[in-house]
Amino acid sequence: MSGTFGIPWSTFGAFLVVGVSIVVAILWAVRGGDDDKGAP
């Protein structure tokens, strides 16, 4: 069964994982928090 750009969903999922990774990294970066905790 074809998904976006004619690529089957089973394969197109790889693009989605890359997109999710970028969103996760941005959310972690903007969350801020205990950055200096534990610094000597």
């Binding site: 690529i7 999922g13 693009f15 990774s21 990294a25 970066a29």
Partner: protein, 498 residues
């Protein structure tokens, strides 16, 4: 201007620029900390993009393209795991903790971290030896990747390409140390990204766009566009894990986390590394699409070089070639500095000459350490060069072999070292020795059940680490307290200053 002249001019400018960066950074390198970790003052952009450049060598570009050609678009999942596990999660889960722990333990190498975290000098030496041997194997495969693509694209004999590129890297790493490595890698990452995007757009244009290219690929065999398709789940998952989870135990990548200037910079670095890492999609996608353009290629390793020749104009091919060179050179350089650290700081023990006390003259000690670091990185590079001159056959297999052994040795002692207080000296040491042995034996006996040695290596390493730690006396509380930044922390068994 002929194609070869264009290639030669672009490459010549590029190589001279790298040496100049090395010379410039050499002036800023005055101590061992400068030479090995840039004085812990490197910014997020340089750190993140140099991480990407070191991660994705020319082996990934040439070999990834070959995998794409052989197995089709299911290989995009390898790239996806590279991005999620090998970039985003490792920065988030391991990055900040490793920064904090190495600073508290006052160490600048991964063997040093393991030695101090567990109070185990023997584990430090073992890691350093594994790094020395298998990083050189890995570097040989990196040089091979560069040599092959230069031979394929512009007809420079393999041996000439390897010797020229290798000697230039030796020059700038020996002179400029870690700062030269990260700054040249930063430049190289941009060239690599630009080159990959150029090849991506040219290839998609040639096949009529992503949809049309996918349809044409499916017409050859539906298995080339489906997952797992012609590859099968076993091969796909084990390969994806090797090249993604392996990052968590690779010293030349982990060093980025504790050379960055602050945890705040690390957060921005995580985003930039993820964005840069997304480029990993390109070699696999382009490799898969190359089957539409070159349906009868006998050697998949030639997919990328021949596709480049077919779809890019000479100037575009020159930029792409510079990108591939950049990928290989940055990885090679990153590995050299790690091997040098393993020799000078860990195997030698970072100790002063007989009769000399480090505190007496820090400037003199710093100069001597930098000199030793330069000599060690030059020697390690020279060994790689000599071995690469008569290389073993399969690029990617050799790389994966080295990765498997290094990751089996380092992964759990590093990851659990910053998360599990109960991990003991005996647990860490036995896990490293047995994990390495299992990975090696598994590969030597011909990969039983078709499973790569990485999988049994890291699995056994984890089990041994946990079981032996629980069966042995809990670690010295002062040692753990120091690593976790609590009151009452003590120095590890490896001494006060590494």
């Amino acid at each position: 201007m002929s194609g070869v002249a264009v290639y030669g001019t672009v490459l010549g400018i590029y190589l001279v620029a790298l040496v100049l960066v090395g010379l410039w950074m050499g002036r800023r390198t005055r101590s061992a900390e400068d030479f090995y970790i840039g004085g812990r003052k490197v910014g997020p952009w340089v750190t993140a993009l140099s991480f990407v450049a070191a991660y994705f060598s020319s082996v990934v570009i040439v070999g990834g393209g070959a995998f794409g050609y052989r197995f089709g678009m299911s290989t995009l999942w390898v790239a996806a795991s590279n991005v999620l596990i090998g970039c985003t999660l490792v920065w988030i889960i391991l990055g900040r903790r490793l920064w904090q722990f190495t600073k508290r333990l006052d160490t600048m190498t991964i063997p040093g971290f393991i030695g101090r975290r567990y109070g185990a000098r023997e584990a430090e030496i073992f890691t350093a030896v594994i790094i020395f041997v298998f990083m050189i194997v890995y570097n040989v495969s990196v040089l091979q990747g560069m040599g092959r693509i230069m031979e394929g694209l512009i007809g420079i004999p393999y041996t000439t390409a390897v010797v020229v590129a290798g000697l230039i890297i030796l020059a700038y790493v020996s002179i400029g140390g870690y700062l030269a490595v990260v700054w040249t890698s930063f430049i190289q990452a941009w060239i690599m990204i630009f080159g990959l995007l150029l090849l991506l757009f040219a290839t998609l244009s040639k096949v009529g766009g992503l949809s049309a290219g996918t349809a044409r690929l499916a017409a050859l065999d539906a298995g080339f566009v489906e997952t797992p398709g012609v590859w099968g789940w076993g091969g796909l998952i084990s390969f994806a894990l090797i090249v993604s989870l392996g990052v968590w135990g690779m010293p030349q990548l982990l060093v980025r986390f504790y050379s960055i200037k602050s945890p705040r910079a690390l957060r921005l670095g995580a985003v930039l590394a993820t964005l840069g890492g997304a480029m990993a999609i390109v070699p696999y996608l382009v490799g898969a699409m190359s089957r539409v353009v070159l349906p009868t290629l006998e050697n998949p390793d030639l997919a990328i070089p021949m596709l480049t020749e077919r779809v890019l104009p000479p100037w575009g091919g020159a930029i792409f070639l510079a990108g591939v060179m950049a990928a290989g050179m940055s990885t090679f350089a990153s590995v050299l500095i790690i091997v040098s650290g393993a020799i000078v700081k860990d195997l030698r023990g970072g100790r002063c000459a007989p009769g000399e006390r480090e505190s007496e003259d820090p400037k003199r000690t710093g100069r001597r350490d930098v000199l030793l670091g330069r000599a060690a990185s030059f020697a390690a590079g020279l060994i790689s060069l000599i071995v690469a001159y008569r290389p073993p056959a399969l690029i990617l297999v050799v790389t994966a072999f080295a990765w498997a052994v290094i990751a089996s040795a380092c992964l759990w002692p590093v990851v659990l070292g910053v998360y599990w207080r109960r991990g003991t000296r005996a647990g860490a040491t036995s896990s490293m020795v047995i994990g390495t042995a299992v990975a090696l034996i598994w590969m030597v006996v011909g990969k039983p059940f078709g499973i790569h040695g990485f999988i049994p290596g890291v699995t056994v390493s984890l089990v041994v680490f946990v079981v032996v730690s629980l069966l042995t006396k809990p670690p010295d509380e002062r040692l753990v307290a120091r690593a976790w930044g609590e009151a009452g922390g003590a120095m590890g068994a490896t001494g006060p200053r590494q």
